[in-house]
């Protein structure tokens, strides 16, 4: 069932051509806007990938809300429904990240190129469940999109050393960008991966709890024989 849900979710999203083009173009626009500064360009590229994937996840989960409720009522597990859609989104996100990794490799001379792949991958792994959490807590497109806008815009402008930036979900992206671009020690890698692990776990758990609460049908007893 999991793979069928993931497959249908991929097809559904794949048919929204205009949305897919925008998902691809958004990180490119961020990257091109700061291409003169390597660190900034890669950080903004990664945040663009994260924003695009989180928005895709938000709209995918919101659009499937009614159908998922129907499927849950007739026997689908809310966990399988969430995981199936997340598998599709992570797959698309990683494909997008791989494309942009290729672009960075072709256009920049990065100190630790492999770390760029790592930071793009970790950003996708946070963004997909983050979009799901927002969609399950704010189950309307406009409210969800505004919430994501607030999170991502704050992430971009907050002082990276301040407590606010560290409390936001993609602080690890900034830390890993520093490790990839600058001649710094492995503490940036360690801190970035630790932050990623905590945030990814929190987002995944929150998305799972919200999915179960929203989709789990009432347990109804079978009729007593009359």
């Amino acid at each position: 069932m999991l793979w069928t849900i993931a497959g249908t979710s991929l097809r559904e999203t794949g048919r929204r051509r205009a949305a897919l083009i925008l998902v691809i173009v958004l990180p490119l626009a961020f990257y091109a806007a700061r291409s003169d500064m390597q660190g900034q360009a890669i950080r903004f590229l990664a945040l663009g990938v994260g924003w695009a994937v989180a928005t895709l996840a938000l709209f995918s989960h919101v659009g499937a809300r009614h159908l998922d409720r129907r499927l849950a009522v007739v026997g689908a597990s809310p966990t399988a429904l969430l995981l199936g859609r997340q598998l599709a989104l992570v797959g698309m996100g990683l494909a997008l990240a791989a494309g942009y990794f290729g672009l960075v490799a072709a256009t920049q001379d990065v100190n630790r190129l492999w770390a760029v792949g790592l930071l793009l991958g970790t950003t996708v792994l946070i963004a997909a469940p983050l979009g799901a959490v927002v969609s399950l807590v704010l189950p309307r497109e406009l409210e969800g999109a505004l919430a994501l806008l607030a999170v991502m815009a704050t992430q971009m402008i907050a002082d990276p050393e301040g407590a606010l930036a560290k409390a936001l979900p993609l602080w690890s992206t900034r830390e890993l960008t520093g490790y990839a671009v600058d001649p710094v020690g492995s503490d940036h890698l360690r801190d970035g991966l630790a932050h990623f692990a905590v945030v990814a776990l929190l987002c995944a758990c929150a998305a799972w709890i919200a999915a179960v609460v929203r989709l789990q049908p009432q347990k109804l007893p079978e009729p007593r024989s009359a």
Partner: protein, 273 residues
């Protein structure tokens, strides 16, 4: 419309209405021969192709199996003093119903009387504020709105719902296509639900509700967008499910088909408190 185009149109419309392509071609050829023999334009002899196709499709459809001897089985749904309240507003007050396998119940009432809420409670999609809901485990559920995914084709819907019911992909598609033919519809490959007419989307919604041959089928105003033939086909299906041993609960606001149902539950709606 020229004679040739009329016949092409007839064959296409017959296929769309669930007639097998070979049979549709044969019927169109028969009509062409008849019009030629009469020496008149087919539109003049038979009228508009769409109307003629509707009648022919109905006649060409395989006759339903002879009615089974109806036996009422065990209780598949029992509602006991079910109440639903949204804050201060009481939507359902003390609803009682016992539905057995092999019976049809119609839930009627004005707009806002709580029909869809009751169906959601029976499905388990909403919780009753008080009262007892007992229900068979295997259900089919066709909600009034948002029952299908706009960017999936009918075949993909069949596979998805089939996977939930533990059916293989091929069996799910074959079952879905067969059930669709009973409603006078042959799903076209590659056409996503958003491109289907409202009535055809509703047929898909109904087919998904019965894909797993459930013990209890819950339908919320399933005929919206149906033409007259499809509407009659739906009620024929409802009684076929009943005769095959399913319990069927139909939410409706049309009162002229209630003489054959076993139970009519009228919801009055309640005032704000």
């Amino acid at each position: 419309m020229s004679g040739a185009r009329w016949h092409e149109s007839l064959a296409r419309l017959l296929v769309e209405r669930g007639v097998a392509p070979g049979e549709a071609r044969r019927l169109a050829e028969d009509s062409r021969d008849e019009a030629r023999a009469a020496g008149v334009d087919p539109a003049e002899l038979f009228g508009p192709a769409a109307a003629y196709a509707a009648g022919m499709a109905r006649a060409a459809r395989p006759a339903p199996l002879a009615a089974l001897t109806r036996t009422r089985g065990p209780v598949v749904l029992r509602l006991t003093k079910v109440v639903k309240r949204y804050r201060r507003r009481e939507v359902l007050r003390g609803v009682d119903l016992t539905l057995r396998a092999g019976e049809v119940a119609a839930v009627v009432g004005a707009n806002g009387s709580g029909k869809s809420t009751l169906l959601d409670i029976c499905a388990g999609a909403a919780k009753a504020t008080s009262g007892l809901v007992e229900r068979a485990a295997s259900i089919g559920y066709a909600p009034q709105q948002h029952g299908v995914a706009p960017y999936l084709t009918p075949e993909e819907h069949f596979r998805l719902f089939g996977a939930v019911h533990g059916m293989g992909s091929r069996r799910a598609v074959a079952t879905g296509t067969h059930l669709a033919a009973g409603l006078g519809w042959r799903p076209r490959a590659g056409a996503v639900a958003a491109r289907l007419s409202g009535g055809t989307q509703q047929k898909l919604n109904v087919v998904l509700g019965e894909l797993n041959r459930p013990e209890l089928i819950l339908l919320d105003e399933p005929y919206q967008g149906f033409d007259q033939d499809s509407y009659l086909d739906l009620w024929t299906q409802v009684y076929a499910w009943r005769d095959a041993g399913a319990g069927v609960l139909v939410v409706t606001h049309l009162l002229h088909d209630l003489d054959r149902v076993d139970h009519v539950l009228e919801l009055k709606g309640t005032e704000d408190r």
